[in-house]
Amino acid sequence: MNGSVIGRGTVVRGNVRGSGSLEILGRVEGDVSVSGELLLGEESAVKGSVSGSHITVSGAVQGDVRGSEAVLLERGARVVGDLTAPRIGVATGALVKGLVRTDGEPVLGTPRRPATAGARPVAFPARAPAPVPAPAPKPSEPSETVEEPESEPPPLPQEKAAREAPPPPVVPALAKGAKAKKKKRED
């Protein structure tokens, strides 16, 4: 049996080391180092450095967290210390105060993307980002059409000439004025 649990009502003052997986629901004041998976539950509190292969944090850690595979901070996690792992996920609602560094050898060829919807990998910009190509201007786009449509005076001289009656050409002019009036009335 390799699954160890430090229960909710348990306090450990000292170092915890070992192989296999460990689940901490209580408190540890000391360093924790396991070779397997490490789970820090919601009400857990660890004061000391933490290391494991795959570390999931939902509780509080005051110390560095180092995962040989991954470190995932769930909602409600509070970490004051540095995070180091090839894969790091920080969910919304998790608090971190410290240096976050995706370290180690990422597997080449596989695209990096968040494994879960809630977790988002935080990449430390160790390398300069690839230069973004500037948007090339498109020559096919006609530039004259841009300025025309809004500044068109509504009344058409032909209409005026065709009708002898005095009423002005209401439709386009009113449309502009009416909009503004309508807004004011709504306010």
Partner: protein
């Protein structure tokens, strides 16, 4: 399921204090205190004073043990240290070296 399990392969150096059942299958060096039961599995190696409500030993314990209720030293278990408990059983095949205080 016990509240706290120190599994095989895990070792703790320091004090463990608890308010729930503690099962030890791994290594513990320091001190173990709980208000509930302690079970020391056959693969466990403990170098610590142990204080508990009740204590069952199937592995190795080096240190003084105190139980509010009882101590059971099972066959294959090995205890080097003093026992303070109102009830004590020592199974045939267990190893024990130490004083016993049964509060008489």
């Amino acid at each position: 399921m016990a509240g706290t399990v120190i599994g095989e392969g895990l070792s703790i150096e320091g004090d463990v204090s608890s308010e729930e059942e503690v099962v030890v299958q791994g290594n513990l060096r320091g001190k173990l205190t709980t208000t509930d039961a302690v079970s020391v599995g056959s693969s466990a190696v403990i170098e610590a004073d142990v204080s508990a409500q009740s204590l069952t030993i199937a592995g190795q314990v080096t240190g003084d043990v105190t139980a509010a209720e009882r101590v059971d030293l099972q066959a294959g278990g090995r205890l080097i240290g003093d026992v303070k408990a109102s009830r004590l059983t020592i199974a045939d095949g267990a190893s024990f070296k130490g004083n016993v205080d049964m509060d008489v």
